[in-house]
Symmetry: C2
Subunit: 378 residues, 2 copies
């Protein structure tokens, strides 16, 4: 298992380039992972994601559990086969959506009772159940079931939330270890699904440290988490604080395992974090912003709804060579948005994803060039 994360270069600043070998795909990191909530990166066909060089995408356990249901997906051979995506997949634990989308949730030591945002039906999620659902979905990477501490949270609240997340991490890991071979494609691939632990602790540096150390300690005789995520960030706090928490945690995480910051961020953020040594990031921002007409470009943010673009025949981003910028004008994209056309969401999303994936590609190239330069190879 030691070869599944191959560190290729590392800089003095901590940035590193690596290859993460997952059952369905060898992923080049640092990597940005588009979010495919309900089994689709909204409005973007799978072949387009492939042509954009997306190596790994996310599925949301909460959504897929509710519809079409994890047992149905298991019977159909797992999420890869169901959505026809041969590359890598990661599922979250469902925890974040239970807390952000569902109704009437009630948290206990055992787990969370909640009502579906779709039909009001009652459900109960425990760490064990989250693992079972994720194993049925059969992504390449599962996430431990955690409580995403809200912001702001006072110290007592953050401590209690962390205590719960640490207890749930232990239970998640134990249940995952006992059942990971039940993943639908295990026979076919002959490789195991991975499971990542999640660092919480609110905006308290010492709690973040404690969280990281306790998760790492769970690795006994190589049976610990396969990677570590930093969760509970980008939940409303100032960006300085986000950075501070990431900087606090990164040195405590094992160098030979991937590090994933969940739910970030803006283009400059993902580049910054990648250069600090974050290997994986995901965010709905490029696709969600796209559907609202916000394009990320080399010249900054561009709100395509603007009247000034009505007859602008230039490409959305003159420095971008994505299939949208090569073919369509700002005027056309504005028109599609004004007319409420479905193609608007598709083309805007494709460009924004190309932009995000392009940033990571450039960061990887830059990290690779430093191999013979200022970098300190691992």
């Amino acid at each position: 298992m030691s070869l599944q994360f191959n560190l290729l270069n590392q800089t003095a600043a901590g940035g590193r380039r690596a290859q993460l070998v997952l059952p369905h795909q060898a992923v080049e990191t640092p990597v940005f992972m588009p979010v495919g909530t309900a089994g689709t990166v909204k409005a973007v066909p799978q072949d387009v994601l492939e042509s954009l060089d997306a190596q790994i995408i996310l599925g949301n356990t909460y959504h897929l559990y509710l519809r079409p249901g994890h047992e149905a997906i298991r019977r159909m051979g797992g999420l890869h086969r169901f959505i026809s995506w041969p590359r890598a997949l990661l599922t979250d634990s469902g925890g974040f959506q239970v807390f952000s989308l569902s109704q009437l949730r009630k948290v206990s030591e055992e787990g969370v009772r909640f009502r579906s945002h779709l039909d009001g039906s009652s459900h109960f999620f425990t760490p064990e159940h989250s693992m079972d659902v994720q194993i049925a979905l059969g992504a390449d990477i599962a996430m431990a079931f955690d409580e995403c501490t809200e912001y702001p949270a006072d110290r007592t609240r953050a401590e209690e939330s962390l205590r719960l997340t640490m207890a749930w991490a232990r239970r998640s890991l134990d249940h995952f270890t006992a059942h990971k071979h039940e993943v639908p494609w295990f026979e076919e691939k002959g490789r195991c699904m991975q499971c990542f632990g999640i660092v919480q602790g609110g905006m308290y540096r010492d709690l973040r440290r404690e969280s990281a150390e306790r998760l790492v300690e769970m690795d006994q005789a190589g049976s610990g988490f396969d990677g570590y995520a930093i969760g509970g960030l980008s939940v409303g706090e100032p960006r300085d604080l986000t950075m501070e928490m990431i900087a606090e945690v990164l040195p405590l995480l094992p160098k030979d395992k991937p590090r994933y910051v969940m739910g970030v961020g803006y283009p400059d953020e993902i580049e910054q974090y990648a250069r600090m040594g974050v290997d994986m990031m995901d965010c709905v921002l490029p696709t969600r912003a796209a559907r609202h007409g916000l394009l990320f470009t080399s010249e900054g943010r561009l709100n395509i709804k603007g009247k000034k673009y009505a007859e602008d025949q230039g490409p959305p981003d003159p420095a971008c060579d994505c299939m949208v910028c090569r073919r369509y004008s700002r005027a056309y994209l504005r028109h599609l948005m004004q007319a409420g056309e479905a193609l608007s969401g598709t083309l805007n999303s494709i460009h924004n994803l190309a932009y995000y994936l392009g940033i990571m590609k450039r960061v990887r190239a830059s990290l690779a060039r430093r191999e013979a330069g200022v970098s300190t190879p691992a």
Copy 2:
């Protein structure tokens, strides 16, 4: 100009294969034309339309006139450039939408006053104005401004409607002939836009004949219409009647010009009409039905919303090799529809268009094979 419609084969039943040389594309007929109402075939990117071998698509003059406006499109070099579509385009006259979508319309000999369905603003369309708008849009083919006679319509009403359509056809042709060189790409292509006349007459065979004959008579010394459409069909009448009207009109139209039946139809209809000698057809059905979950397949119509497809891992149409049928399952398409995902409309539309375009391709191949067989070459 005589070489712009090259008849290649013709069968005893009247079916014919030809090449229609338009300024932007040499179109193989019989051809089905996907409808791109507001400058986009709903939910389908232009490169996908190209890969589906769509040779010519429609734009709706009424929609594009209201938004983004024909003058804006003219300033941007015409509709081809605006929507980044290098192949052939046809615009309707705006008449049908004025009658079906707008509010408070008032018809006079001069034209139609109506209120926009978008913002209630007042507009006046005349045959001359429709031609001006279409020349500004600069499709390859413009349509004469007509009144689409409703169904049912009594004889007096059908006669009056036809009288108006014939007067407007004359005015459309005269104005088009005087201004067709003003099309945005005239200098670049060195070729002229074409204009088709439209046969009306309700469901009265003699009125249909009169309409066809009067349009053909407008061709004096080669200055007539470049092709002829049969309009006012598929407006609620039984299909036998549609067929009867088409059969009545086709023999009266010149053999050396294209014949276009507007707004049809179901898959079996377009095949039937093509085999009778109709060269061009358009319809929103494949894309509109797709957005409602109705797929056309070699096994008949398939409502993808059906619960029985929840775990059906077969392709939408086992006999289809389109990019959707090659990659995705019925279960996945059903899930996308149930979840209200944008990708649903895109994938369903791609399949349905592939199915429609595939029918025409097979009909053309079958007409070509008859060259050395039972067919009667023109």
